[in-house]
C-alpha cells in the first residue's frame, strides 16, 4: 500500500511503486483532469504539482510522491476560481482543451514564483507545454491577465 496526499485528501493505493503517478491518478483514483499526451516528458499534458513543483506525472513513479503533497487540476482551487482559471474563462483560451490542464498547472508555478511575469518569463516557464491547437497567444494573454487578478486580490 502506498499512502498519497492528493488535493488535501489521503488515499491508500495498492499499486506497484514503479507505476507512473499519472496512471494512479487517472486509472486508480479516477482523477482524469490530468491528461496523457506523450508518456515521455515531452508535452506537458500530465503536469501536476508535487510539493509545489510542476512535475510531469507520466515519468514520475508513484513512489516519489509518497509523503509529499500532490495537487492536480481538480485541486488547484476548491472553488475553481484560481486567477488562472478566471482568466482562462474570460479569454476563452481552450480550443480542444486537451493540453490545458497541464498549461494551467505549469502557469500556476510561474505565478507563484513571479507575480508580474514578462513575455520572456512566460516563454521560459511554458516552453515545455505543447498545444497542438496553437493557443499559445491566448495562453500568454491569460497569464498576464491572471497575474493582474492575483495582484489585485492580494
Amino acid at each position: 500500500m502506498i499512502k498519497l496526499t492528493i488535493n488535501k485528501k489521503e488515499h491508500n493505493v495498492d499499486v506497484d511503486p514503479d507505476t507512473p503517478l499519472l496512471w494512479v491518478l487517472r486509472d486508480t483514483l479516477n482523477l482524469v483532469g490530468t491528461k496523457y499526451g506523450c508518456g515521455v516528458a515531452q508535452c506537458g499534458a500530465c503536469v501536476v504539482h508535487l510539493n509545489g513543483e510542476a512535475v510531469r506525472s507520466c515519468v514520475t513513479k508513484v513512489s516519489r510522491a509518497e509523503g509529499k503533497k500532490v495537487v492536480t487540476i481538480e485541486g488547484l482551487s476548491e472553488t475553481h476560481t484560481h486567477p488562472l482559471q478566471k482568466a482562462w474563462l474570460d479569454l476563452d483560451v481552450s480550443q480542444c482543451g486537451y493540453c490545458q490542464a497541464g498549461q494551467i498547472m505549469s502557469a500556476a508555478v510561474l505565478l507563484k514564483e513571479n507575480k508580474n511575469p514578462t513575455d520572456q518569463d512566460i516563454d521560459d516557464a511554458m516552453a515545455g507545454n505543447i498545444c497542438r491547437c496553437g493557443t499559445y497567444l491566448r495562453i500568454r494573454e491569460a497569464i498576464h491577465a491572471a497575474a493582474k487578478i492575483q495582484r489585485q486580490d492580494a
Partner: protein, 221 residues
C-alpha cells in the same frame, strides 16, 4: 701574472658567472610558466607543496589528453554548455523545450530539471535520464566545457574561482561525485564516455598529482 691583469680577469669571471646565473634562472622561470601556463590558486600552490608526487609536466599533459576526451564527450559536456540551455543527445543539440539554467542551475519556474529528470533513469529508449541531484552549474559559475580548448579547460579546472571553489584534494574526490558518475549510466540510446569510469579516475588523478599542467594552447574542439 701581474696584479693589474688579474683584477679585470677576476671581475669579468664574476660578471660572467652572475649573468649566466641570471639567464639560467630566467629561462627556468619562463619555461616553467610557459608549460604550466595555468592560473594557480592559493589552494593549488599549497597542495603542490604538500601532496603532489614528483611534478612531471609530460606525464601530466599526457594524462590530461585522456581527461579532455571524456570531459568533451556528450555525457559530460551536455550539462556544461556555453549558453544557458543544456545540450542533449550524442550530437549535443540544444535540449528540446529549451529549459534554462536559472540562478542555481536547477531550472526555472515550471521548467526545473527534476520536473522531468527523476532520481533514477526512466526505462526505455531515450527516456529522461535521472539522478536525485540533476542540475547545471549555477549562473554565477557556469563551468563551461563546450568550446574550451584543452589549455583553457585545464586552466579552468585548477582555478578555484572557475572550478566551483574546489581545492585540488576536492577535485580528486570529485571524480566520485554522483552526478559525474551518472555519465556512465546514461540510459538507453546514449553512448558512454570514451573511457570507463575507472580509467577516467586514473588519468584524472594522474593529471592532478603530476602537477595539473595545462597542455600548450591549441585550437578549440
Amino acid at each position: 701574472m701581474k696584479k693589474r691583469y688579474i683584477l679585470p680577469v677576476r671581475t669579468m669571471a664574476i660578471l660572467l658567472l652572475l649573468s649566466s646565473l641570471i639567464i639560467f634562472m630566467n629561462f627556468r622561470f619562463k619555461s616553467e610558466s610557459l608549460i604550466r601556463n595555468s592560473v594557480v590558486g592559493q589552494a593549488h600552490t599549497e597542495f603542490l607543496k604538500t601532496e603532489l608526487n614528483a611534478k612531471d609536466s609530460v606525464a601530466s599533459v599526457k594524462a590530461f589528453a585522456e581527461v579532455y576526451k571524456v570531459l568533451m564527450s556528450p555525457r559530460c559536456m551536455n550539462c556544461h554548455p556555453s549558453g544557458d540551455v543544456p545540450l542533449q543527445g550524442d550530437d549535443s543539440h540544444l535540449h528540446a523545450m529549451l529549459p534554462k539554467r536559472g540562478k542555481d542551475g536547477k531550472g526555472l519556474y515550471a521548467m526545473k530539471c527534476t520536473n522531468c529528470h527523476q532520481p533514477t533513469n526512466i526505462e526505455g529508449l531515450n527516456k529522461p535520464p535521472g539522478h536525485p541531484d540533476w542540475h547545471l552549474p549555477p549562473a554565477n559559475m557556469k563551468m563551461v566545457f563546450e568550446g574550451r580548448t584543452p589549455n583553457q579547460l585545464a586552466k579552468q579546472l585548477v582555478n578555484p574561482r572557475t572550478n566551483g571553489n574546489k581545492s585540488m584534494q576536492q577535485l580528486i574526490e570529485h571524480a566520485d561525485d554522483g552526478l559525474v558518475k551518472a555519465g556512465w549510466n546514461p540510459g538507453e540510446g546514449r553512448t558512454l564516455p570514451p573511457l570507463s569510469h575507472e580509467e577516467f579516475k586514473k588519468v584524472w588523478i594522474t593529471w592532478i598529482k603530476t602537477g595539473a599542467y595545462a597542455p600548450p594552447p591549441m585550437k578549440a574542439k
